[in-house]
């Protein structure tokens, strides 16, 4: 069973704790909306599940398909069936998109795919996503528009066929038509039994893909877990009701201001800091 089970997960970045005891279970084939104010740990959760080196897990466990995810390297997690559609996909100069896609496809095959078959699959997937085929021959994400980058993430999902896809604000940068195209692909994969955990700040995408559940992350923990009515309510009224009805104080996003501002001597400040 492709079940994702997260228990008491704590994680930090640069010594600052972001995840403060996350408990969450995603069953096979479920589509779950993950909501929450900015800076409360949603993207961190995805990155930790995928093994981003910037984050340190200090406590807790993540199991998928009964395997200890945290004991695996990032590539092994991907091959286990986890996929992260990134909020800000990296631009990698010189790495040709199709070379990268072929390497990713081959990474999970014993015998490498033939060039003919690869291009056949790629051609079909780009058509489905209404992407110009020349994107495949350009440097990975370099010079892509915001929408093209997001479609390229979905293209990768299509080619890699994960069991659970975590999509981080996949709708940002997409125009109305492109969002419909992406939603159609997600719906097709839902019908194939794929699970989804989807972060979005807007109800529009959720309305198109019909999540079966919605969970809300506040202060680094799952504060609410319920039906789709939750994201509809949040879309209409915001997060205030969580404080008034559930008594959970929502911490403000901690944005550290740059200590050096125009008019001060940056070098002097830097020397002081080193001392």
């Amino acid at each position: 069973m492709s079940v994702l089970k997260i228990t008491n997960l704590h994680a930090s970045v640069d010594g600052k704790e972001i995840l403060k005891g996350v408990n969450l279970r995603i069953n096979e084939g479920e589509t779950v909306a993950l909501l929450g104010p900015n800076g409360h740990g949603k993207s961190t959760l995805f990155n930790v599940i995928m093994g981003h080196p910037k984050y340190q897990v200090t406590e807790g466990s993540v199991f998928f398909d009964d395997q200890d995810v945290l004991a695996l390297s990032t590539d092994e997690r991907s091959k286990l069936g986890l996929f992260l559609g990134m909020q800000l996909p990296s631009e990698i100069p010189g790495v040709i998109n199709s070379d990268f896609l072929k390497a990713a496809v081959n990474a999970r095959r014993e015998k490498p795919i033939t060039t003919y078959n690869f291009y056949k699959v790629l051609d079909q997937a780009t058509k489905e996503l209404k992407m110009p085929f020349d994107l495949a021959t350009r440097s990975l994400n370099e010079g892509f528009s915001g929408g093209e980058k997001k479609r390229n993430e979905i293209l990768q999902m299509e080619l890699l066929q994960p069991k659970l896809a975590m999509l981080d604000e996949i709708d940002s940068g997409l125009d109305v038509d492109a969002m419909q195209v992406v939603a159609d692909v997600i719906k097709k994969e839902q019908a194939n039994g794929r699970g989804f955990l989807v972060i979005s700040h807007y109800a529009r995408l959720y309305d198109l893909i019909n999540p079966t559940r919605a969970v809300v992350m506040i202060n680094g923990r799952i504060a609410l877990d319920g039906g789709p009515e939750i994201f509809k309510r949040i879309d209409q009224t915001g997060y205030e009701f969580i404080k008034t009805e559930y008594g959970i104080e929502i911490e403000k996003e901690d944005i550290e201001m740059n200590k050096v501002s125009i008019g001060t001597c940056a070098v002097k400040e830097s020397i002081k800091k080193d001392e």
């Binding site: 080196p53 991907s78 990134m86 990698i92 010189g94 990268f100």
Partner: protein
């Protein structure tokens, strides 16, 4: 592409595609004179065997020079003169092992002369390599650009030098230097020293150098798609050195260079 072999010590050439094989001109001082208003594409192999290479690009000519260095090169001296409204596009692909000492001097002698010179160098094992590409802007409205892409791994040491000198009177000239070296291991050692010498006020000039490790975000992105860290590094390296491949027209050569990189990685 059919190339005509250049096998003499002194050569006068017109438009066309050429190949210079250093093995044929071992321990010689070789000169190539490119005639006025010519367009030439010259591939240079085994340059290590040539004692000194002098190239004159005459008025209104456009020349592409692609050097491929595959084996040890203790000392290599290349001097190139570019005349009125002539242009040079140079590519130096160095995937040799052990030692490289490249001294390349480009003189932008007359008004409107231009030069764009790219070097890619891969340093591994206990290689010691020094790359020095200097460009003199002697006349007005000259353009010179030097780009270096380096990979430094294992116990290798790479030093990239280069002086772009804009002489007094070379008004409206444009001098650019850009050096990027990616360091893979703690024991690797990379130094980049691009130098601008400016004796004129009316010009555009810039220089920059970056020495750093492989980008963690790039590595995470590729491995998050199931690609092993080793393959991801290889892909990033090939991508990083990719700009040099554009100088080599033959597909077979591009493939050969890619396999040289893979072997050395």
């Amino acid at each position: 592409m059919n190339r005509t072999a250049i096998s003499n010590i002194k050569n006068n050439i017109k438009s066309g595609a050429y190949i210079v094989d250093g093995l044929m001109l071992s321990n010689q001082k070789v000169s190539i004179e490119i005639e006025v208003n010519s367009t030439c594409d010259i591939l240079l192999n085994n340059i290590k065997d040539i004692l000194e290479l002098n190239i004159n690009i005459n008025e209104d000519s456009n020349v592409t020079l692609a050097f491929l260095s595959e084996s040890e090169m203790k000392e290599s001296n290349i001097n190139i003169n570019v005349k009125h409204n002539a242009s040079l596009v140079g590519y130096f692909a160095d995937f040799s092992n052990k030692t490289l000492n490249l001294n390349c001097k480009v003189n932008l002698l007359e008004e409107g002369a231009s030069c764009s010179y790219k070097v890619a160098s891969l340093v591994a094992d206990d290689d010691r390599k020094v790359v020095d590409v200097s460009i003199d802007h002697i006349s007005p409205r000259t353009y010179g650009k030097f780009d270096c892409f380096g990979i430094c791994k294992d116990d290798g040491k790479l030093t990239v030098l280069g002086t772009s000198h804009v002489f007094k009177g070379a008004v409206k000239s444009n001098a650019q230097q850009n050096c990027r070296i990616m360091v893979f291991d703690e024991a690797s050692n990379a130094t980049a020293k691009p130098i601008l010498k400016i004796d004129e006020n009316d010009l555009v000039a810039s220089h920059g150098a970056v020495v750093g490790k492989i980008n963690d975000e790039h590595l995470f992105y590729l491995t998050s798609r199931g690609i092993s860290e080793e393959t991801a590094k290889e892909l990033i390296t090939l991508g990083y050195l990719n700009p040099i491949l554009e100088g080599f027209k033959e597909e077979s050569l591009k493939e050969h260079i890619s396999s040289l990189i893979e072997r050395r990685m």
